[in-house]
């Protein structure tokens, strides 16, 4: 979706402000949100792409004015309601009013913690040979799906070079909508900064994205 989350190349957000000796969390509630998202994801309530989509669909003013963990919280609450794990009445009451729905991987207890600490695997068996090889010139498609996609707006329509082939991965565009993993070849595609940003662009800049095969056309 063409949301405010897709902010590559936007102007006006001001300076980057590094915080010296930044703590891991700025408040306890941030750590609880992080843990709940990781736990409910590991328990099978949702996949990582669905959780991203729920954050992207927050109203633009809410997205832009909320801290990272507040976005995580708002997305989590809405997603769990939509998927039937809790109800608005329960959220309003602050307590459970009915038994829980079965989780794919069961209750998230202490025995599950180490599983969360290992990064997930997203590579899948290829359903077909790769269409592109390293060095190929490809054009990022000019597509504007209203649902989740990982093709940022700033490269759409631009030509780049395939630099790496990462194998076949879960396709976020369908996984986010719970339409299946639909594995697709994944490539690093590199673009010239002067092509993306015009003649005023930094001539020394190259930008790459990781692009799934359905995002690309051969030129």
């Amino acid at each position: 979706m063409n949301g405010v989350h897709d902010m590559g190349g936007m102007d006006g957000f001001g300076k980057v402000e590094p915080e010296p000796n930044e703590p891991v969390f700025h408040a306890d509630w941030e750590s609880r949100v992080l843990a709940m998202v990781r736990a409910m994801g590991a328990a099978g309530a949702f996949n990582i792409d669905t959780s991203r989509f729920y954050r992207e669909t927050l109203p633009p003013d809410v997205y832009l004015s909320s801290s990272y963990y507040r976005k995580w919280f708002l997305g989590l609450e809405e997603m769990l309601i939509d998927k039937g794990y809790l109800t608005r009445e329960e959220v309003a009451a602050g307590h459970a009013k009915q038994p829980g729905k079965a989780l794919k991987h069961g209750k998230f207890d202490l025995g599950q913690v180490e599983r969360v600490m290992v990064r997930g695997k997203f590579a899948r068996t290829a359903p077909a040979p790769a269409k592109f090889k390293i060095g190929d010139r490809v054009r990022a498609k000019n597509i504007h799906p209203a649902t989740h996609t990982r093709l940022p707006r700033y490269v759409r329509g631009h030509v780049g070079i395939v630099e790496l082939n990462h194998g076949c991965h879960v396709f976020p565009d369908t996984a986010a909508m719970e339409l299946g993993e639909n594995p697709q070849w994944l490539y690093t595609v590199v673009f010239e900064g002067s092509d993306l940003w015009g003649e005023d662009g930094d001539p020394t800049l190259k930008v790459s994205i990781d692009a799934f095969e359905p995002y690309l056309d051969r030129t």
């Binding site: 897709d6 902010m7 590559g8 190349g9 102007d11 957000f13 001001g14 980057v16 590094p18 930044e22 891991v24 408040a27 306890d28 509630w29 750590s31 609880r32 992080l34 843990a35 736990a39 409910m40 328990a43 309530a45 954050r55 832009l64 909320s66 801290s67 990272y68 507040r70 919280f73 794990y85 809790l86 959220v91 602050g94 307590h95 459970a96 038994p99 829980g100 209750k107 998230f108 202490l110 913690v113 969360v116 600490m117 290992v118 990064r119 997930g120 997203f122 940022p152 700033y154 976020p172 994944l186 900064g193 993306l196 930094d202 020394t204 800049l205 190259k206 930008v207 994205i209 799934f212």
Partner: protein, 207 residues
């Protein structure tokens, strides 16, 4: 809305969010979805075990062991997998090397993808709009916000983390560190140097 009414509802974002977060955890616990002690354990891991020291160890080893460096650049996940306790990096880590001709910088314009297993949880600035919006268009301007400048003709390569691949920058080894041990070198490797928004510390400089 009258002034008085407004004051009655003048909760800060923090306190309102805090109450809602607590309520959600209560519900998830009561419904039998999560065990609070398991949430504590996740938090503790991110506060103690998982942080930039993991990435620093990998960088320091690459600086001292040419065979490891070659393997790391060939297949980051596989090479790091041989190091034991920092082997939880998954299958999709790509290590990109800074050279005198090219500087690498990592961003996620669409959300905040970041190599957690190597660097811990990302800092606020990495997740905030200014960095996410500008890194791909004006990386030299972003670097200036970190008091970092690069030679005018040096190539800048920005890696936008748009999939589940994760990127770790291998910075250049500082001069004046000949003969240093891996452990000493790891002490020079900053988080920002592995994102590409900084350099390693130089010997003798205050940390």
């Amino acid at each position: 809305m009258s002034e008085h009414h407004h004051h009655d509802h003048d909760h800060s974002e923090l306190s309102e969010t805090e109450l809602r977060v607590r309520a959600l955890e209560t519900i998830l616990t009561e419904k039998g979805y999560v065990e609070p002690a398991a949430l504590d354990a996740i938090i503790q891991a991110y506060e103690t075990r998982i942080g930039p020291h993991n990435g620093a160890r990998v960088v320091a080893k690459a600086w001292t062991d040419p065979a490891f460096k070659a393997a790391l650049l060939e297949d980051g996940s596989k090479a790091i997998g041989t190091l034991g306790h920092v082997s939880r990096v998954g299958d999709h880590l790509v290590v990109v090397e800074n050279t005198p001709l090219r500087h690498n910088m990592v961003v996620c314009t669409l959300c905040s993808c970041y190599p957690w297993e190597m660097l811990g949880l990302p800092p606020v600035w990495y997740k905030a709009s200014p960095y996410r919006s500008r890194a791909v268009k004006d990386p030299r301007g972003v670097l200036a916000d970190f008091d970092v400048s690069l030679p005018k003709d040096m190539e800048i390569r920005v890696w936008d983390s748009t999939a589940e691949t994760r990127f770790l920058v291998l910075p250049m080894r500082p001069a004046g560190t000949e003969g240093w041990s891996e452990e000493q070198l790891a002490g020079l490797v900053t988080r920002d140097s592995m994102i590409g928004t900084g350099f390693p510390r130089t010997p003798g400089a205050p940390s």
